[in-house]
């Protein structure tokens, strides 16, 4: 009898205190307060820290836009196909290099080059999916390993063709001038603002297609239950191929933006793959809103930590984003908006 009550007691759901979550929220709030205090401590005058704060915030926001563009492709592919495309970084860099070649050597306009770069990255991604991934559907690890192998090959070939010197793409002319902000005589890179606008547009477009069109309906159905969707007469393989093309093209677009706003160099592929993964994981794989939130978090944490950490610790800022990731995954193992499957 006693053992039965013990078993009953064990199986009853224990009330769980969200200790870890509470600690995380408190720490985040403290960190944010620390940043704001440093920013506004010297008053609102133009000799205070506010102008710098505005610039750093803009840096963070535009970086978040860049992260979102490349991460949205990754999250689309993952949500629909359950493929963790670890070649996403290589496709990202490929898009950047294609645009660079087209602008610099072929003399095309930036817009045409960006479009062609998207198509090129999308096609490479599509070929990879059709040749290697399609017949391994459902084997998560094997697919991840295949994409790692493809990314090794792509990255090395790009090193061979484009060299190791960091190079940047010239922005379109009317975006090359600094944009006056009308505050404290500040001016900011117009192109980076355009990048943020583009990210918002990509997000809006995604959302509209997702919620308002037949294609979006099919994609949502595919995310929820691929087999059932297929049984209802949808050509799922075609949808998969389309998703892989669009996702890879978005990686390429991200590469074009990164190549214009920052620069292109070997190793960028891994750096951006890792940040796109962090964004997608923090938000929850397959969730578009989660990716937006993750991108904002990553961009702002990245910029604020390198600017506002005490000098002795400022070289640890790169570490902070990964600590953020580990903490979020420890509290919510499938990310902020991830579904348990």
């Amino acid at each position: 009898m006693a053992s039965q009550t013990a078993a009953v007691r064990r199986s009853a759901p224990r009330p769980r205190l969200p200790v870890a979550a509470a600690v995380a929220v408190v720490l985040t709030a403290l960190a944010l307060l620390g940043v704001l205090w440093q920013a506004f401590e010297a008053g609102l005058g133009s000799d205070g820290n506010v102008p710098t704060f505005i610039l750093i915030t803009l840096n963070g926001l535009t970086l978040a836009g860049l992260y979102f563009i490349s991460a949205s492709g990754l999250t689309l592919i993952f949500g629909l196909l359950r493929v963790t495309n670890l070649a996403h970084g290589a496709l990202f860099l490929l898009g950047g290099y294609v645009a660079l070649t087209l602008v610099k050597d072929a003399g095309l306009s930036w817009w045409v080059a960006a479009l062609l770069a998207m198509v090129a990255s999308g096609l490479v991604g599509l070929v990879m999916h059709q040749l290697f991934l399609r017949w391994n559907q459902g084997q998560d690890l094997r697919q991840a390993l295949i994409t790692i192998a493809v990314s090794l090959i792509l990255a090395d070939q790009m090193l061979a063709y484009f060299g190791a010197t960091p190079t940047a793409i010239l922005p379109p002319e009317f975006l090359a001038q600094p944009l006056p902000l009308g505050l404290y005589d500040l001016a900011y890179h117009t192109f980076r603002i355009a990048m943020l606008v583009a990210a918002v547009l990509v997000g809006l477009l995604f959302w509209l297609v997702y919620k308002r069109t037949r294609v979006g309906m099919v994609v949502r159905a595919g995310v929820d239950d691929t087999q059932m969707t297929s049984a209802l007469g949808v050509n799922v393989q075609l949808v998969f191929a389309g998703a892989f093309f669009v996702g890879s093209a978005l990686a390429g677009l991200g590469g074009v933006f990164a190549g214009t706003a920052l620069s292109l160099a070997p190793g960028q592929d891994q750096a951006f793959l890792v940040s796109a993964l962090v964004v997608v994981i923090v938000g929850g794989m397959g969730s578009l809103g989660g990716a937006a939130l993750g991108a904002l978090l990553l961009g702002l944490v990245d910029q604020y930590s390198s600017a506002y950490l005490p000098a002795a610790y400022s070289n640890l800022s790169a570490l902070l984003t990964f600590v953020l990731l580990a903490v979020i995954l420890a509290v919510r193992p499938t990310g902020l908006f991830g579904k348990v499957r």
């Binding site: 991840a144 790692i148 090959i153 090395d156 090193l159």
Partner: protein, 357 residues
């Protein structure tokens, strides 16, 4: 073919493969005698410590279904702490190594406790985060030499100079490798090892049977830490230096490549993969500029054709020949498509975690 003839041929085949295996083992033992000091040091030592690092990953993924990119982190913690203590604090190398390995185990336990809640791809990514945290920490902190690293690490007197006179170091690494192999193989046969395989194959059922799934995953993950730590210390001793660059993401992926090439299903695959990688790394680099491309191609082919790696190919081939010699079944039953290689595995390893990871 009569039955006696078939039996004779099967026996000849068994003797032949056993003999070949014996010759290979003999060559491994005689490497310092048969080959130059350069080969022993460059290929021999590197494949052995890389193999130990890779086997920690093979163990985790094969037994626990946890594919971890954080092995380099534990590897680095042990190597860098041991190097730091022996070079700058003047500790005895053995004591420094012990402290380094214990530190790696503690870090492994902590990482394991955090990561054990995640599964599959999330687990891969969270361990990637750990690898990056450790890398950026060691790259940023001047105490550990930042990007410069720690140079002039001296292995214990007993083991001699790893570059000029690598024979003693080689035998030491060989002994450690054998010990690690036997220990891990023993673990897979204990009740804990079997429970870990159960957790890998069906966590829900194991939880229903009363096993603490998270605890098993945490302990399994922690168990691989000292192995990776030993490899880290041995790498610092063999190269006489260690830096943050030794544990970057590229190295983590390299380790995964070596383990996959060898084969994730069998522990010995780790050393096979490490040896093949080191051999190519040493000799192919002078021959082609695009070494990484070829490595990627080999990696891709292995993953596509044989998920069991080189060891898997060998045992599949061996089983095929044996079946034909026996004359019972002229054609092995294969399914249509390329998945046949994966499903037609004769090795009595429990179902691989590949499907659900």
């Amino acid at each position: 073919m009569t039955r006696t003839m078939a039996r004779t041929m099967a026996r000849t085949w068994t003797l032949g493969t056993r003999g070949l295996l014996g010759v290979v083992l003999l060559v491994i033992v005689l490497v310092p005698v048969l080959f130059t000091a350069f080969f022993t040091s460059q290929v021999g030592l590197t494949s052995l410590w890389l193999g130990i690092a890779a086997v920690s990953l093979t163990f985790l993924s094969g037994q626990g279904g946890m594919v971890s990119l954080a092995q380099t982190a534990r590897f680095g913690v042990a190597g860098l702490i041991a190097a730091k203590l022996s070079v700058e604090a003047g500790w005895n190398p053995w004591a420094a190594a012990l402290v380094g390995i214990l530190a790696a185990t503690a870090v492994g336990l902590l990482f394991g406790a955090v990561a054990s809640g995640s599964q599959g791809i999330y687990f891969l990514i969270i361990t990637l985060a750990f690898a990056q945290v450790t890398y950026f920490y060691f790259a940023a902190v001047p105490t550990f030499g930042a990007h410069e690293g720690i140079n002039g690490v001296r292995p214990p007197e007993l083991l001699g100079d790893p570059v000029q006179e690598p024979a003693r170091m080689y035998y030491f690494l060989l002994l450690v490798s054998i010990a690690v192999f036997l220990a891990l193989r023993w673990v897979t046969r204990t009740a804990f090892g079997l429970a870990l395989q159960g957790v890998r194959d069906d966590p829900v059922r194991m939880a229903a049977l009363g096993y603490n799934v998270r605890l098993h995953r945490t302990l399994g993950f922690a168990l691989a830490a000292p192995v990776a730590g030993i490899a880290g210390v041995l790498s610092a001793w063999s190269n006489t230096r260690m830096s943050a660059g030794s544990i970057s993401l590229a190295v983590a992926i390299l380790l995964l490549t070596a383990a996959v090439i060898g084969g994730l299903d069998r522990l010995e695959g780790a050393w096979v993969g490490a040896f093949l990688y080191t051999l190519c790394d040493t000799y192919l680099r002078g021959w082609t500029d695009r070494f990484t491309t070829w490595l990627g191609v080999v990696f891709l082919v292995i993953v596509l054709v044989s998920p069991g790696g080189v060891v898997g190919v060998l045992s599949t081939a061996g089983a095929w020949v044996r079946r034909h010699l026996a004359g019972d079944r002229p054609e092995p039953q294969t399914e249509a498509g390329a998945g046949a290689v994966a499903t037609d595995r004769p090795v009595p390893v429990p179902a691989s975690p590949r499907g659900s990871m």
